[in-house]
Symmetry: C2
Subunit: 315 residues, 2 copies
């Protein structure tokens, strides 16, 4: 297995601490989260989304995000990411010292109104203000600013979402100064052909350097197949969640992130380097399950174990 | 949705009645199996593996295979497939009037001894005798004869299985007169890169016409990703099981066929025609669950439902 920090072909962005925990009734104690972060870093996970700068009243599960960012930043090679819904959240993220911040932008305006309680115009306003704020920062203090194109593959409220709308919003936010956009299958509507088609369309509009990542859900069991399509088309950052916890609490019927352990197994088995030690990752899973005894974790590799001879073939 | 018998891009071979039922403690009554067959045919499934010609003592769940073949053959456009372990089984299959029969050949000889209690030499002997028997039949009575290359991606006993061994056995059985070979991931060891690599290698050795199909397990959650890889490389027949029931009862730790409903959803969402009506398929699932009340069925699409607007986009 590759040591942490070595060259990787695909960056796994672990979202369990944010997308996972925000959907659970349980609130994990900050100390447990810090141990989780340390274990992930030790297992070689290159990026962790540790929380979200939203009002504590809205998501008390993530109230300790600032503290976690500071803790995670001690791991020198770790990219520390958060979600920010607006300028106020971005200010907090900058103050905390994040590596990367992502603003979710629902391409379906109905979903945007239901989820962020904001119209497209209002969200574009926030994006513009954040981009302007970042311009005034010295480069060394400036986190990467990404817009996540939520409901890019469809929406439980509107159904079909036009690919032209996805492209248009990507163009608009890039014009406003965001560093990157990412595709997000908020409702589990994506299929492998759509993943490839939409990635190509967005790249054609905003340039290949402006999009690296995809966030997939396993709602209809298509998570790993969609991740494979993403890899094939050339996306090189894939979000996933330890034990598959989480999903989008605001999209009815949409649940279940792709399981990090199963994704890393797929990639490593294919010879695609993730920098992650699978045995260490399975230990993190055990820790998280112990810390969340009443929560259901998902995944197959944890049950079946690694194939006989899998480790030898990689040494 | 495409009507039964219309042109399809990928042939789904439903193995629930054989690979599924043989692994369950419950014995499904013959009448229920016949209803299952009728519903599958009505849903547009082009091929059904209805049973196995093995001694009744060994698999009492499949003791009515002859009866089921006769019943299934009433559906004119349906390909009716069975498993045969040896010449005696093949004779029974020919007498019953099957469209296709598959002899499983474990590339791992240890697995062959544990599973079929036969060495490679002995299995090759059976293949030779069956091929000779078929040569003497009038063409109209002659079923297609396939050898399934079990443990092609690895084995729970031997671990790694050499790809050269897979190719060598494919060459040997084709030289003996089998119509086709198929790749079988008996132990759930396959990954998308291995699927593509091995298909290419076997094709190079025996010709593209000699291999169309793959049998995948979802042991490590990789089933649909591997199916996508199979599709990408050009395999056009994929085995799957309604509700994901079954697997290989002789390979410890290996369980779980890929779920037909989720596979068909993936393909149809991508615009790949299967000829299968997903709504009708979900009705078959309900019937099978009712007929097997104590058994666990798997799958995601059945829980999440079809995406909003999915049907409209296909009409």
């Amino acid at each position: 297995m590759t040591a942490a920090g070595a060259h990787v072909d695909v960056t796994i962005s672990e979202v369990g601490l944010r997308d996972g925990l925000q959907s659970l009734a349980s609130i994990m104690p900050t100390d447990a989260k810090k141990t989780w972060i340390d274990m992930q870093a030790k297992a070689g996970v290159p990026e962790l989304e540790v929380g979200s700068f939203v009002p504590k009243k809205l998501l008390p599960q993530l109230a300790d995000t600032s503290d976690l960012v500071a803790h995670a930043r001690c791991h020198e090679k770790l990219s520390v990411a958060v979600i920010v819904p607006n300028l106020r959240g971005a200010e907090a993220a900058i103050d905390a010292g994040v590596t990367r911040m992502t603003l979710p932008f629902s391409v379906s305006e109905s979903h945007s109104l239901a989820n962020l309680r904001r119209s497209h115009e209002q969200v574009l306003g926030e994006v513009k203000e954040i981009a302007a704020r970042l311009t005034n920062l010295p480069e060394t203090d400036r986190p990467a600013f990404e817009v996540g194109l939520s409901t890019a593959f469809g929406c439980t409220i509107e159904g079909r979402v036009s690919e032209d709308d996805v492209v248009r919003i990507a163009e608009q936010v890039v014009a406003l100064g965001v560093d990157e956009v990412g595709l997000s299958d908020t409702s589990g509507y994506a299929d492998p052909a759509a993943v490839k088609r939409l990635a190509q369309k967005v790249w054609s509009a905003v340039g290949r350097d402006r999009m690296h990542g995809i966030h997939l859900h396993n709602t209809r069991g298509q998570g790993l197949a969609n991740a494979l399509a993403a890899l094939d088309v050339g996306l090189d950052t894939i979000d996933s969640s330890l034990g598959g916890i989480g999903g989008c609490p605001f999209a009815p019927g949409a649940s279940g992130n792709i399981v990090t352990e199963d994704l890393v197994f797929m990639l490593e088995a294919m010879g695609v380097r993730t920098g992650i030690d699978l045995d260490a990752l399975l230990e993190v899973r055990t820790f998280v399950q112990d810390a969340l005894p009443s929560e259901q974790l998902y995944g197959f590799v944890c049950e079946a174990g690694l194939p006989k001879g899998f480790r030898d073939a990689r040494e």
